[in-house]
Subunit: 678 residues, 2 copies
């Protein structure tokens, strides 16, 4: 069975390589286009290199601490190494995604000169490279490490040790999401504020020194950051299911089931890939349908395969329904996200209308929409976790119920290969549009890349639904795993240590978001200063001098790196500090509180940001006065505030709540030893 | 002992009457001033009458339901009546406060023509009328009802039945805070947007038809709303302490202690009142010192009296320290609130500076400040609740520890008489300024009222600190009381019912805030439409026609009333619905989740709103370009968004979390009977 899992994972990597080859062999277009593309590529690589060296320091310090702990028998020797491994593959997944994206952007732009369908194929293939690499790398590394560690330390210790792998993956994800998010927003603000607003030149104008940094940002934030993020979600859901499964049933089948579901998901994703195609006269709807065909076929396929495995391993039909439920809830949350963020529905239309009365009403309405949008996802996850628990027999066997919850998360993320593909293709299309503009392509070409880009914004909502929903379910499963380590600890809500932890936990996502928002602000003003300086001293408007793109890229990189450290380290340290000061009971309170408020705040920020973005686009499409009207200015304020909400703070919170749980699990023995209260 | 409690409470009422008499006999000034004042007075009365009739319907329906439940032995017969009583006295406290405030405003304005100290005396006396009426009415009604019900049903049933009293008080408070908050912000936006921005006339210009409604708003929101709010906090903290005390120790001393502390607090407040005076050459700092002398003397006095009572009732010294701790934490949170919202410190200065780069950066920075400001209050409350628990012997006797937490809340609110006085005097000074402006007083008079007003903004921060801090501690105590009703129910965090409740609970404050924000928006646009209409059709700018003030007042009243219903009813019903659908375990999760996220969100919204307000004032004082600069416009956007944050949604959340707990306690037997899951 393990062979099936590993070969499916390897198949994903082989298929991804094949797609990468297909992308690379496409015509990269004119010299001008290639030059622009390689500038973006170099900027993105430079950023990742810098980021990797920052992360390396964090990993080195943590690795040494973990070696000490292993020496003092506070963890087993495999864990420091698994931590490094988890981090390494997370970084690798991001790197692969970003590499192919920066190769695909120019080729998509060039293909758009000839045909819409051709451009879609290239962009979507590069997205699929990313999607399949993420799931392929994650499943290969995870299952091989498990086999190896289980061989040395036994199965039970191995399921525990894997949390070090997860902690590595989550740490990289938090750094990448946060650093990438800060980078992309700082560059965006710098380019827009000085270029568009102050100097009055259009978007992606080559005279703007921040234009390359802006395009680099799409890659390091939306591609590499998101890749690491979903890699982390995928890994987190799997290791929680493995640990809970073995703790409950003490059988290999309980471990093999989640792995097989993941492996079937990979096969299903590859199957679904072949259904994604469009024709030349495609409009927005038929393009969307083309992508949906892919995800729907993959979902049908996994629904079939999952049944075989659940029955084959001797589990009950209701466990199969739990996995399906997970899948459906992910789709449902995605649909809700789409409803609140797409300009086709009431909320965004009302938000666009509120721009008629100024920036203040846009802000209030946007925040209200974000807050309102939390209702259904929270209800869906609450009901799904209850149903999963009881359908998996939780009433008779408590841990079996918790295992069910973790399987729902695995089910939700099983088709990640293809959902991530539809998500990751967006920034490629966005970049292709930028390259088309900078290289002066015709209106028709730009229209095609715009159509692909707009589509990406819609499919991104679905991806976010899965990321948010799985984060909540996985966190729940992780807290449950922590309890198997501390079976004696009181976790009653009224225990004052639990309650104190809960209050502090509920506050942490706010503290973290505050830091993230300010970090974007500071990084952006550094970029703004530099861009203003170049416009003034190099007299860029005249077009005589070439802007110094590289300097803007390097300044943005530096700021993003500095700014990502404090919030990330706070996140990692807080469970250890609270656990030691207030005892293990507080730790559970902390994690539950952070899950509760972090989950809600993440949805609110992501949705509000998406709604503001699309409300602005709706106004720009000629509504309420269109471009240049006072409504447009008001809607731009909303969009600017929404950017760090949806691309920096919001998605980081999903990682934060899981990372805090994994840190707690990995450092549990240390916390127990040093705790001042019990 | 009960005589001491009741006579202290009655003394507060007597002293309040004496102060009211002092205020009334002051010279109300010229005919023009009296006319303006009586227009405000009539508007405020009309609003309260309308609000009372809306609330009456809610109370009638709930009363009938409660009678049914009493008939089916699901509560005792005293409870429906206690519910009415609690609501009635809450409304009365708000009414008294508003009546004296609308009499004091014109007298303060008139006194300011002669002397600053005289104006301070009148304004502060009217604040003290409010403060002492709130505590006097609450303590009288509560202790007499307790004696009566205990006489009929026994002490244990009586402590339980008092929660119906608390539920009545909290329901009125929520309606008043929300309705008043919607009213005051809708009128404010209507007056400012059309008057100041569109027509370019100054604040409080008598040609503006919304100018009376705007001044009415200060009274119904900041006076009546706040009065009902703190009445509710005071009642809540006392009944929780009574119930936990008797459940734990089964002695009358455990009941008499919190009541005596409250009674001593009243005596201390009256004592402190006599220290509040200033001289003619007072500046901002010496005025603030004048008020602080009052609260500090009251605190020293209660510190002395509390010791006598703790020892007299035979409790340990450490319980005395718990009460002091509560008092100190309230002061600390007030200080933190002041730090984050006063223009004297870094956060507001940085926020004002961010207005140089536009409205978007003002928004991001303000939200970040609000989020950051949650850190210390949450840590303070967490540590305080842990210390209170263990210092009261919670390690040996769990319930004794919880009783300690409730005593910390009682200690925090013990000097409410005088802290509320320093808080409630602010809107009177604000109104006095409005009347001075409208009646065309000299620059010197306006300067004096401005000085009093600015002072009010600072002291309001302290009042907010007490309201927020006590809300968290009281909620904790209320959840603990609920557990004494459901001793068998599992409240472990990992129980999926608890967790589902926790997630939904964490979402509710967001849902509620969303509704509140949108309600303000809708009410404001109704006002804007009317004001625009009047300016156009009555040609108000020319000054020939008199605006129809009454119509604006009536439209604002109507909208505020309609808009306050849905969020309030959602708050009341959600614990019952969740309790029935998901079982009593979920109820605990719901309350803990709502406490966690509601507490943090309330601080965030209140602080961000206050910071935006003062950042705008800081710019208006001539910084960053001063009035009319683009920085000023940007700071106005922040202030406009902040208004419903700090005056509508934020403070309502404090009430919401307590009301939900009280509803759960009162309807516990019903929920237990109908619950679908156990």
């Amino acid at each position: 069975m393990m062979w099936f899992v590993v070969s499916s994972a390897l198949l994903a990597l082989v298929f991804a390589s094949f797609l990468a080859y297909f992308v690379v062999k496409q015509d990269p277009g004119s010299k001008q286009m290639r030059d622009i593309s390689s500038a973006i590529r170099e900027g993105a690589s430079a950023y990742l290199k810098k980021q990797d060296s920052t992360i390396a320091i964090f990993f080195l310090v943590t690795f040494v601490i973990m070696l000490f702990l292993a020496y003092f028998h506070l963890m087993n020797w495999s864990m420091p190494f698994l931590f490094l491994e988890g981090g390494f593959f997370s970084g690798l997944a991001g790197y692969v995604g970003m590499s192919i994206a920066t190769l695909a952007n120019v080729r998509t732009a060039n293909a758009a000169r000839k045909s819409l369908n051709r451009a879609l194929q290239i962009a979507f293939s590069s997205g699929a490279v990313m999607g399949l690499s993420v799931v392929g790398l994650a499943l290969t590394a995870l299952s091989l490490s498990f086999v190896l560690v289980a061989h040395i330390y036994g199965v039970s210790a191995a399921t525990g040790a894997l949390f070090a792998f997860g902690m590595g993956a989550s740490s990289v994800a938090l750094f990448a999401r946060l650093g990438g998010g800060i980078y992309t927003k700082a560059a965006d603000v710098g380019a827009d504020l000085v270029g568009k607003v102050e100097e009055g030149i259009p978007e992606d104008d080559p005279r703007n020194p921040a234009v390359i940094a802006d395009n680099v940002g799409d890659n390091v934030g939306d591609v590499a950051g998101m890749g690491a993020d979903l890699y982390e979600s995928y890994v987190g859901s799997l290791i929680a299911a493995l640990a809970l499964g073995f703790a409950t049933f003490k059988t290999m089948n309980a471990i093999l089931l989640p792995l097989s579901i993941a492996a079937s998901g990979i096969l299903s994703s590859i199957f679904g890939f072949f259904f994604v195609r469009s024709n030349e006269r495609a409009n927005q709807n038929s393009l969307l349908f083309a992508l949906k065909k892919g995800t729907i076929s993959a979902s049908l396929m996994i629904a079939f395969l999952a049944y075989l495995f659940v029955r084959g391993f001797g589990f009950s039909n209701s466990l199969y329904l739990v996995i399906l439920l997970g899948l459906l809830v992910g789709v449902f949350i995605g649909w809700i996200t789409e409803y609140y963020t797409s300009s086709g529905y009431k909320p965004v239309k009302a938000l666009a209308k509120s721009s008629l009365t100024g920036a203040a009403t846009v802000m209030i309405e946007g925040l209200a929409v974000g807050m309102l949008s939390t209702f259904w996802p929270v209800v869906a996850i609450s009901v799904a976790s209850l149903l999963s628990f009881y359908m998996s027999g939780g009433a008779q066997n408590f841990n079996a119920g918790l295992y069910g919850i973790s399987l729902a998360a695995v089910g939700m993320l099983s088709t990640l290969g293809i959902t991530l593909a539809t998500d990751a293709y967006g920034p490629v299309a966005d970049n292709a549009g930028g390259i088309a503009e900078m290289s002066g392509q015709s209106e028709k070409v730009r229209k095609r890349t715009d159509a692909l880009d707009a589509l990406g914004n819609t499919t991104a909502a679905t991806g976010k639904g899965f990321a948010i929903g799985s984060a909540a379910l996985t966190s729940l499963a992780l807290i449950a795993t922590l309890k198997t380590i501390f079976p004696q600890v009181s976790i009653e809500i009224l225990n004052p240590n639990v309650m104190a932890g809960l209050l502090i936990g509920a506050m942490l996502p706010f503290l973290f978001s505050s830091m993230a928002l300010r970090a974007v602000g500071r990084a952006a003003s550094a970029v703004v200063d530099e861009v203003r300086y170049q416009f003034k001293h190099l007299k860029l408007l005249s077009g005589k001098n070439k802007p110094n793109y590289a300097r803007v890229v390097s300044i943005t990189t530096g700021s993003a790196q500095r700014e990502m450290i404090l919030p990330s380290v706070t996140a990692v340290l807080s469970p250890i500090v609270v656990g030691i000061l207030f005892g293990p009971s507080s730790l559970f309170g902390l994690l539950a509180g952070a899950l509760g408020s972090g989950f809600v705040l993440a949805i609110m920020m992501s949705t509000a940001g998406g709604a503001w973005d699309n409300a602005k686009k709706f106004v720009e499409d000629g509504n309420h006065g269109g471009k240049g009207s006072s409504a447009h200015s008001a809607s731009i304020v909303g969009d600017t505030v929404g950017d760090p909400f949806k691309d920096t703070a919001g998605p980081s919170l999903n990682i934060l709540i899981k990372l805090m749980s994994m840190v707690s699990i990995v450092f549990a023995p240390l916390i127990l030893k040093l705790a001042l209260m019990h």
